[in-house]
Amino acid sequence: MGERRYLYLFLIPLIMIITLFLLVPLIFVLRDSLLSQGRLSLANYYAIFTKRLYLSSFKTSLLLSLTTTAIGTLIGIPLSYVIYRRGPRAQDLLLSLTSIPLVFSGLVVGFSFIVILGSSGFITLILKKLFNINPVEFSAFLFTWKGLVIAYLYFLIPRMILTMTAAWASFDWNLLDAALSLGASYTLTFRKVILPAIAPSVIAGSSLLFAVSMGAFGTAFALTGTGVNIVPLLIYTHISEVGIELGRADALAILLTLLTTSIVMIYERLFVRRSTRV
């Protein structure tokens, strides 16, 4: 017991950081979201649940995040396997290349996509030469939520790869040989051996992608301006427009946090149980 107590001491810095930089700000935000003209009220939440502007922003945010999560997960898994199967040298190189997109600010990502896929972007111009497409029509999708899907995948796929590489590394490959030598088919091996082993990482990775896309701001701000109606941009306009509505922005932030956290929790519950049962 005495030893345990010392271990708790080591947790103090972590607890302090979480309290100071996560809990305390969140409590302030929650408190302010419940104030309207200095009085306790649910007016901010009421407005969010009744106005089309807010409801449609949550809808677009969810659509965007679910799409990026699904595509990012599906592309990330095979890519991570390919990278893992290279020799250690190539693997090191590929992994460090993979983390490059993670260091760029959203601003850089946004503008680089304009340079590539905008109406004078070089891919657009090549396609124009080859297929005679209309560059203005073609590039317009870039400034909608669909453009954000492409731009977000740029920094989401690496996150999936990094999470998955760890899973492949800890996977006991002897199990695979055992299954195959005992006569299991490839599909059966995949379902009964590989899937259960990597499932926790797939779930952790895709939850991460979902949470990151729900909250991402910089890339959207740089790429689409404030015209795409997603929650992070709406929070921005509420704190920088003239009729500043801090309370409304606070309420949006609280709802965004709640929604993201609960979706991630339900998802993990549902699938972790199922995968451990197998």
Partner: protein, 360 residues
């Protein structure tokens, strides 16, 4: 010991050279009292000028001239008029800005919120009365007209009217700034309202027009701050913005015949831009020096050189600039509106725009 002496000598040398470089001497005063104000400003060393983005309204030209004349540092940001007032309000207890620049109605709003200080710069008397606060809490410094700036490389037929913009051939073509956070965005709401039979008391027709533009799918994007660079890069087919941006793209950035500036048939508005001394400015003398410079004949001429029409009526546009402007008859379709009233309905207009245009 010797090492320290050498170091000290080096430091002294560097400091000497630097201060020499900064010791600018004013030979001829632009206005009485300039030298005295400069001496006081020199001690403060810098000005923080909010929302004067360098590619907007030839601010770069004014920055360069100011730095050359006085050797003072000038820092700026580029937020949008609405965001500027919001920022000043947040910093009310600990002001960071010296001056704030915005679409004129926002000046009146900043004064109402107690964010500004009265200051009458040189030539204050020459500013038309309706374009300034009597105590100088804000005063207009230049004007601009809301126009279409068209990139002919991307658009074959140049739109001539607000109605034209609704045509399906301009699908995904139109770009403008967000009325919630920027002055030009709000000016566009007002301009479209007047063009469709509305007025400052009834902005609805303008908002309905913008909602329709959105619905037919002709809006390419809604930006948050100056998109000049994107236009130059060829990302914007039809840009609703101020005339100076168009002239600047055409003649200064050298896009030439690829750019056409159109004053829409149904009419538009001419919008004044104002500046204020911020209450509790950290560098009050340098701020006054900067404001005086902007309002001096010299400063006003620099606006004119960048196709930005100065507020002082007696400043003649340089010949080579004048001949490049669209003819006077075209500008006759651009009206002035009651700007003070415009301030009162701004918040409502922004909300209505958001729910009608984005909440569709």
């Amino acid at each position: 010991m010797g090492k320290w002496v050498a170091l000290a000598a080096c430091v002294a040398l560097v400091v000497g050279v630097v201060s020499l470089a900064f010791a600018v001497e004013i030979k001829e005063e632009l206005y009485p009292g300039e030298k005295e104000l400069y001496e006081a400003a020199k001690k403060e060393g810098r000005v923080f000028s909010y929302d004067t983005g360098p590619t907007w309204a030839n601010w770069q030209g004014l920055f360069d001239a100011f730095k050359e004349r006085y050797g003072l540092e000038l820092e700026y940001n580029d937020l949008g008029s609405g965001a500027t007032v919001a920022r000043l309000e947040k910093e009310k207890n600990n002001p960071q800005a010296d001056t704030a620049y915005y679409f004129m109605p926002f000046g009146a709003m900043a004064k109402e919120k107690g964010l500004t200080e009265g200051f009458k710069p040189v030539n204050f008397d020459k500013i038309p009365d309706v374009l300034k606060d009597p105590e100088g809490h804000w005063f207009s410094i230049h004007k601009g007209t809301v126009v279409f700036v068209v990139n002919k490389k991307l658009v074959k037929d140049v739109p001539r009217s607000w109605a034209d913009l609704l045509d399906s051939k301009y699908s995904k073509c139109v770009v403008y700034l967000d009325p919630r956070t920027t002055g030009i965005g709000y000016a566009i709401v007002i301009a479209t309202a007047y063009a469709h039979g509305g007025n400052i008391d009834n902005l609805k027709p303008g908002i309905q027009y913008l909602a329709k533009l959105q619905k037919v799918g002709n809006v390419r994007m809604i930006e948050k701050t100056t998109e000049y660079d994107k236009f130059i890069k060829g990302e914007i087919p039809v840009w609703i913005t101020y005339d100076w941006n168009g002239y600047r793209a055409k003649y200064i950035a050298g896009l030439g015949d690829d750019v056409e500036i159109v004053i829409p048939k149904e009419g538009t508005i001419t919008a004044p831009y104002a500046i204020s001394l911020v209450k509790g400015a950290p560098h009050p003398n340098a701020a006054r020096l900067w404001l005086n410079f902007i309002m001096s004949e010299m400063g006003q001429r620099i606006f004119a050189k960048g196709f930005v029409r100065p507020i002082l009526p007696d400043i003649e546009l340089p010949e080579d600039v004048k001949e490049k402007f669209l003819p006077k008859e075209e500008y006759a379709r651009a009206i002035d509106v009651d700007w003070v009233k415009a301030q009162k309905v701004q918040k409502e207009a922004a909300e209505m725009w958001a729910s009608e245009v984005l909440g569709q």
